[in-house]
Subunit: 381 residues, 2 copies
């Protein structure tokens, strides 16, 4: 693994060297809870595994404390110790079946030099949006080793700290989704700049997406080599496209990524989860990407998704995050409903249909996570 | 029609009285172009009719001029002469097959006294958001005659000015969609307040939705009696719900509305269009509302929608509004593609999948509208 040959300090080098001698890759702390990885591969599990998108986040007071300590959001991402700390926080509170690397989908364009910053209450912004052929031409494919070492350091540290308790998920934004922020210069409702680029200079659009796809392949493979045990591609804005534009400008690049990924490491398959928010109409297209699992938002009932593609991939989802505003009874009822919809058998990773909201009461998350485990046992008997 | 018994001034009364004597309702100027109404009812047409959501709007310089003259947005809505003027503007430029009343989906909560205003670049806001049972209890069902006379005056004036050239569409927001603004106090991404209300006090949520549904029935019927020839219910935010929540909190109230509407007037059926943005998964549920037409956004290919429900209702849509950023060739190509997807036969009203964007070049709209007429003739031969 890349980590072990990174010269960080005499002490680290020496301790790693000794570790290497006596603990080859295969000897990493054995995974105690592999429900998540098994469910992704549609293997038997005792109960349905559960994790939450943005489980390390602002709804937790201990996160807000570390975030304040770090200063701005990117400083938190770039500090491996603090990133490790916030990654682990939700696992101390809840019986989650996976950890997910704390980072952001915009680390790659930040490493490309576009000047990412987070304006108070406004989401991500870029000082230098990408608007022209010359802007795109100037972008270089990133190397995670060289340009994003802090992410890989965080992965290694988290794996060490997890000590085999649960698997660690790595992730990246999809090329289309990352490009929307780069071209719009931040969040968008109508995507007027990037869709203009798509309509008027498709060749420039493709060049940008290709540069991003190459960067993502390198980035996710480096995460895998550093220790993540599954990867998710977040295509938050693919659902803003028409079906045919989605195929050409989003899915084709995710396919390219999946085909370039290391699919086995540490003697285990590395499952790939592809999540296009609002992509429920395109499930049959999505599974041609050779992903192992498709993430679902809450608009498509999971039984319909299962009927369409459940014999080929596993499904992740799909509770409306807003259900967590409800009381214990309402939360348990909704969890029970979704489990019943999925029905008996394997291939379900429980999750929210999008990230957990900032103003959710952390106590409600305990109810949620415990309900998934408790109410799902009957479907795996 | 209600108009003729409204005592506005001696002159108006007198002239209307004379009009009434010699021009009973049936004698309103005969409709010269009824393609739109015929297509809604899946009857034969020579070419596919086309209109655009928000066709009277900011992309037109002449609209921006009138808007400036009116002052703020609501003053424009509340001035029948100016509302009529902006309604007619796009028809002077383009060969559109329908006019749509210029108004807003938030006129009802404004009439309820919630203090609607439009902050610069921030969309609609309410000074008094609805958050508690007491807030909901205090709301009264509106009467269009008493509370929204400016809308009905605008309808009458527009019908007069259209003089039978094309039909006039009336509209309302869906109860759920209108409620999102009332409860959130404005636009929202996560709908945390209204979804909290839905989860924690569903009875309060239902009371609010019921008050709105009753108001909408009265409002749309008054528009019909004043002269609109088709109505559309805009459910912009129904697609933020899960399938089962959509049924209970959005669709059931739209069903109630449809069942309370006047369905025939001036000797013609008044077609009802139901448009839930992001509702493509629920088409089979939506048509149980007894609507005549289902509006589609651009995420679901129209051939798939037709295969699912095209034998029961007509379909309206479904080009991504962002296609209008493209050049003439790209626009014609996309129009041709959608027409080909729909295929031969009746029951298609061409439209964008959502409102036209503010920064579209008005010349591109000519290309679009003409392309629909020109390229669709072959499918109606």
């Amino acid at each position: 693994m890349a980590y072990w040959i990174t010269w960080k300090s005499d002490f680290v080098f020496e301790s790693n060297f000794i570790y290497l001698l006596f603990n080859p890759v295969q000897a990493m702390a054995e995974l105690k809870n592999d429900r998540f990885l098994r469910a992704l591969l549609r293997q038997d599990v005792d109960v349905t595994p559960v994790w939450m998108m943005r489980q390390a986040g602002r709804y937790l007071p201990e996160y807000r404390e570390v975030r304040q300590q770090a200063g701005d959001f990117m400083s938190l991402c770039q500090n491996p110790e603090l990133a490790c700390e916030v990654t682990l926080q939700p696992l101390r509170r809840y019986a989650l079946d996976a950890a997910i690397l704390f980072s952001d989908i915009l680390t790659i364009p930040d490493a490309m030099g576009l000047g990412l910053y987070f304006a108070q209450g406004e989401g991500p912004k870029f000082r230098k949006p990408v608007r022209s052929a010359a802007d795109v031409e100037a972008l270089k494919v990133t190397s995670a080793e060289k340009d994003l070492p802090y992410v890989l350091d965080a992965v290694k540290l988290i794996r060490q700290e997890l000590n085999g308790s649960v698997p660690l998920i790595g992730f990246s934004g999809s090329p289309w989704t990352v490009a929307t922020y780069m071209v719009e210069g931040g969040s968008s409702k109508e995507f007027s700049h990037i869709k203009s680029m798509m309509m008027n200079t498709p060749e420039v659009m493709h060049q940008l997406l290709d540069t991003l796809a190459q960067s993502v392949i390198d980035y996710l493979n480096a995460q895998i080599l550093a220790g993540v045990q599954a990867v998710q591609i977040f295509d938050t804005w693919g659902g803003a496209l028409s079906a045919h534009a989605y195929q050409v400008f989003s899915l084709d690049y995710m396919k390219k990524i999946v085909s370039g990924l290391i699919r086995e490491h540490e003697g285990r398959r590395i499952p790939v989860i592809l999540f296009t928010k609002n992509g429920g109409h395109w499930l049959e297209q999505i599974i041609t990407s050779d992903c192992d699992c498709v993430g679902l938002d809450w608009t498509l009932p999971i039984n319909e998704a299962r009927a369409r593609i459940g014999d080929k991939v596993s499904l992740q989802g799909n509770m409306d995050p807003a259900v967590l505003y409800g009381g214990a009874h309402a939360i348990r009822q909704e969890v029970g409903f979704i489990l019943e919809q999925f029905g008996h058998g394997n291939g379900h990773v429980f999750n929210l249909g999008h990230g957990i909201h900032q103003h959710v009461n952390p106590d409600h998350v305990s109810v949620f996570v415990d309900a998934v485990h408790e109410l799902s046992a009957q479907y795996h008997a």
